[in-house]
Subunit: 584 residues, 2 copies
């Protein structure tokens, strides 16, 4: 009884035809002496009907069918009476009158019902992932994900990119995140590492002359997993030769445009706006701004630099910032609510939160009485205040001021339901600092990675003021998420060595870890750069899923555990002995 | 000086246009006071010309250019004089008269020349893989490989398969090959394993209702590497629900047809022939027969079962086999050559090799005088002997007889240059034994894997004569290579448990290793089956490469070493401590 059709394709054109369907019992009901079953497969549902007159044995068997049993039926396609037509189902105008039934496999009662309304802990869902994956929503997520692979790959094929696989067993060169290690059996005491990204390989492919490379590839980071991180994640990895920042951004933007058009029928206007890192931070308080709503941060140092109000003036005199966001309309921001926001601001790291309410040409609020009329007028101008606005002011050190206002901005937008998930606001963040100071390591570390090129007009800064040097890096952000990041790379040995020096990676260490790359740079390396997209997060945004775990077939928990099969698990002493290791 | 064209696209339509090219100096020559350079990129070569009259400084700089330097040039496209036209080059009718030159990167002298005629050890090539990959042949191989990805994926997308990624950090369940292990940081003493194949995951995806799954995926086996094996290899992985053997073979054959048509313009006639395992072994001496040439093995037991010639009769009486291959024409098979073949037969495991030469209705050769006229006549008939044939006979135990003749057959075909690499002869091998006896483990092991279904009409054999049970498995072979293998899987818990029992995998062990799968089989598992193609080998055959290392961007040596970066390498004590392991 091999199916002749799937459960999603029968329609009126097939009335009176004999068909075979295979699928799962999705719903069973007994009505008017007949048994009705919705039979399910990936393609849809078909109503099948058992009549004791037609085949008494099949009817008897059907009586005992239960949800999730797997069956095969042969029957005739019949048009439904008008009152039974279900316009919501693709197959809603027909039903199949069963003549033969075969049970392909019985199912035990599932630990949760297979539908999207379940209220069951994620742990149970992950343990029975194969059942969870039957739910329409997860199935749809994975089908969209498959569609994304297809669109992405065909885009790059059309653009003459070569798809190349890079190794998973590579050299451990921890710089940034922790490596997953793989002990070698042939070389006692030596280890492979799983790639955190194919960074060095894709650069070598450019040096090898492949010109345009892409790959959709798993990467690995052994980090403590925050919400929505996975130890293994998928990257759309891209590298191009003879390009500058704009070339890479242009290809990436065109990919995004096609993806959002094909998957969501959303038009992404090109070009995508660019914000400098500084601009983003001083306007939105972070480097991945959510641009679906307003409330930009406005710096008010010029307004308050000679204020009588000491709190503000002192901050400014000590090199800090006074800045504010304006919420309009201010309705609903009770005293109590503002107190809660003040509490939030403290949680985010500020010493406090000042506020003003501007209404009918009047300022009220916690600091109104300390500020001069002139200052208030200037503030109004600077912030382009509308009537009935709430102004939240933070005066603190540079980072704190913007970061706290940025977090308040997001929190308020969330509370006001402004995070519209039908809206997609993209931006490129550019002009990142090349380095950041690591207190822990007491040295500069690369903000992006050590292969990112500094701006070539600023090379002298590497000696004089490394923290001022800007990188040729770019991130693509969408609705507060970083969805891609890349850079133009260093393509000359001398500059790469200089970079290692700035990072305090000694000659010997650089040689041991990256000697092959340094050497490769000497044999005719072209100028090159690239980008990598976080595919999991991108699919999450495209499907509106609440978590990346909902767009990954078999995800792990935040402690990197697979609840389904119990990995990681103990292994035999024999296996460890062969690998020349033992457990401490 | 960003390129306006690549080095492979300029033609007469662009004469008089100013263009910018970027690329590598591929060839440099000084001729008639001008400097000619072939500039190379992935897309082709363009001849560029430096004239001291046009730009004396550029000309001076060009004097010192060397092979593999990376440069940018701006110049005018000029038609070549008729005598200088190179019809072999796509850009052979034009050249570019350079007006501006910029050196993008200098290159040291490469350790070997960048061309396909190099005679340099593979070790050196692997150490400088990024230079090796510049050679036209390797570049072509990887571009074909990229094309293969594209064709394969679009085929499966069109056939409504869902592409799903499965985890790389999974549970260690060694059954067959050795696992690569990954120590867990969060769970001291516990380990992940890298997948030997996504077998259990793809079955779970069928149980989850995805109906048709595919993925091009890396797999890992920590084995001693024979020639042409890699510790990480790529598989086209496929699984389908509600199917039987023919459905999987049909989809696979149509994929192969499209691949060979699109890549090589070769028509693969469908359906692909099927041979049972027994037929293949008794006719070609192995389960991956090379069908590009004849010389089938013919069993002669019926001819010799009552022979006076004791050597043959004894073998038959002891349950062995007498069998032969006929080589036609026999020219060139001197006594000396036949002696060498006899030596080979011994190397392959036979006790000896008998031969006959049939010419002008007469038999000569080592055993001619021991055989009756009647036997010789019957042999002639059985083997359908043509005049001027050499008959090589082996009489030995079953396995030995066919295996030795199979190896001789291949050796002779190779010597006679019958292994035509423009010929592609496919076959399905079916009806494999389910089990094979492992002397080492003193138990039956699964010939394919423990999830392969036995033939459902032979289930009682599992109790009575497990070694006689056949599997619902199928291999696709091409020119002596296995390029794909698959099976219909067990989809019921009871049968899967029975199978573990036959394999002497105790209940407890089965539960610990595969409990999640056994459980999943109880919740409505559909009948399902699949196949996996070895992509590396397939691309090797499609490109005519001599080794799978020539179709992998960054391969490892046979001891699983990466000569380029030195992986595996030592790691820090700190890394090991975090992973709770130490080196023995």
């Amino acid at each position: 009884m091999k199916r002749t059709f799937t459960c999603g394709e029968l329609d009126e054109s097939l009335i009176n035809k004999t068909v075979v369907l295979n699928g799962w019992v999705n719903k069973w009901r007994d009505h008017g002496g007949l048994i009705f079953i919705d039979l399910r497969d990936r393609y849809g549902l078909t109503q099948i009907v058992f009549n004791p007159q037609t085949n008494p044995r099949a009817y008897e068997t059907a009586k005992h069918l239960r949800n999730e049993d797997v069956i095969a039926v042969e029957g005739i396609v019949v048009g439904r009476p008008p009152e039974a037509i279900n316009p919501k189902m693709r197959t809603g105008k027909i039903e199949v009158h069963v003549q033969k039934l075969e049970i392909l496999n019985k199912a035990k009662t599932t630990p949760f019902e297979i539908n999207d309304q379940i209220e069951v802990s994620e742990d149970i869902r992950l343990k029975y992932r194969y059942l969870d994956l039957r739910r329409p929503r997860l199935q749809q997520n994975l089908i969209v994900r498959s569609e994304v692979y297809k669109i992405v790959r065909n885009f790059f094929y059309d653009e003459k990119f070569v798809e190349i696989e890079t190794p998973f067993l590579m050299k451990s060169t921890p710089e940034g995140a922790r490596d997953f290690l793989v002990p070698s059996r042939n070389f006692p005491g030596r280890f492979y590492a799983l790639p955190q990204s194919p960074q060095t390989y894709k650069q070598l492919l450019m040096i090898a002359g492949y010109d345009r490379y892409f790959q959709i590839v798993k990467c690995f980071r052994d980090e403590d997993l925050r919400r929505d991180r996975q130890p293994e994640f998928t990257q759309i990895d891209v590298e191009m030769s003879f390009v500058d920042e704009n070339d890479v951004m242009d290809v990436s933007a065109r990919l995004i445009k096609i993806l959002f058009k094909k998957i969501l029928n959303v038009d992404v206007p090109l070009p995508i706006r660019k914000l400098s890192f500084k601009q983003a931070f001083e306007t939105y308080g972070n480097d991945k701004p959510d641009l679906r709503f307003g409330f930009p941060i406005v710096t008010l140092n010029s307004v308050f630099e000679s204020s009588e109000f000491k709190v503000f003036r002192n901050v400014i005199e000590n090199g800090g910032r006074v800045a504010a966001i304006a919420i309009h309309p201010a309705d609903g921001f009770s005293r109590k609510k503002i107190d809660r926001l003040t509490e939030d601001a403290r949680q985010f790291g500020a010493k406090g939160l000042a506020y003003l309410i501007y209404n009918n040409n009047e300022f009220k609020g916690s600091v109104a009485k300390f500020l001069s009329q002139n200052e208030l007028e200037n503030l109004k101008q600077e912030m382009d205040l509308q009537n009935n606005s709430l102004v939240l002011i933070v005066a603190d050190q540079y980072e704190t001021t913007y970061s706290v206002l940025g977090q308040l901005r997001l929190k308020i937008a969330d509370e006001l339901n402004l995070l519209d998930d039908q809206k997609f606001e993209f931006a490129w963040i550019v002009d990142f600092p090349l380095l950041e100071w690591s207190e822990e390591q007491n040295r500069y570390v690369a903000r992006h990675h050590p292969f990112t090129s500094p701006r070539t007009d600023q090379l002298e800064l590497l000696d004089t003021a490394p923290d001022k040097a800007l990188a040729r890096a770019y991130d693509l952000v969408l609705n507060g998420n970083e969805i891609a990041g890349g850079s133009i790379r260093i393509h000359q040995r001398a500059l790469q060595e200089k970079m290692f020096e700035v990072l305090k990676i000694g000659k010997e260490e650089a040689e041991a870890k990256f000697g092959f790359l340094l050497q490769a740079l000497e044999y005719g390396a072209p100028p090159h750069g690239g980008i990598a997209f976080g595919l999991d997060r991108l699919v999450m945004l495209l499907t509106g899923a609440g978590s990346i775990r909902d767009v990954i077939a078999f995800p792990k928990t935040s402690s990197a555990l697979s609840l389904m099969d119990g990995a990681p698990s103990e292994v035999s002493e024999e296996q460890l002995a062969e690998l020349h290791i033992k457990v401490r």
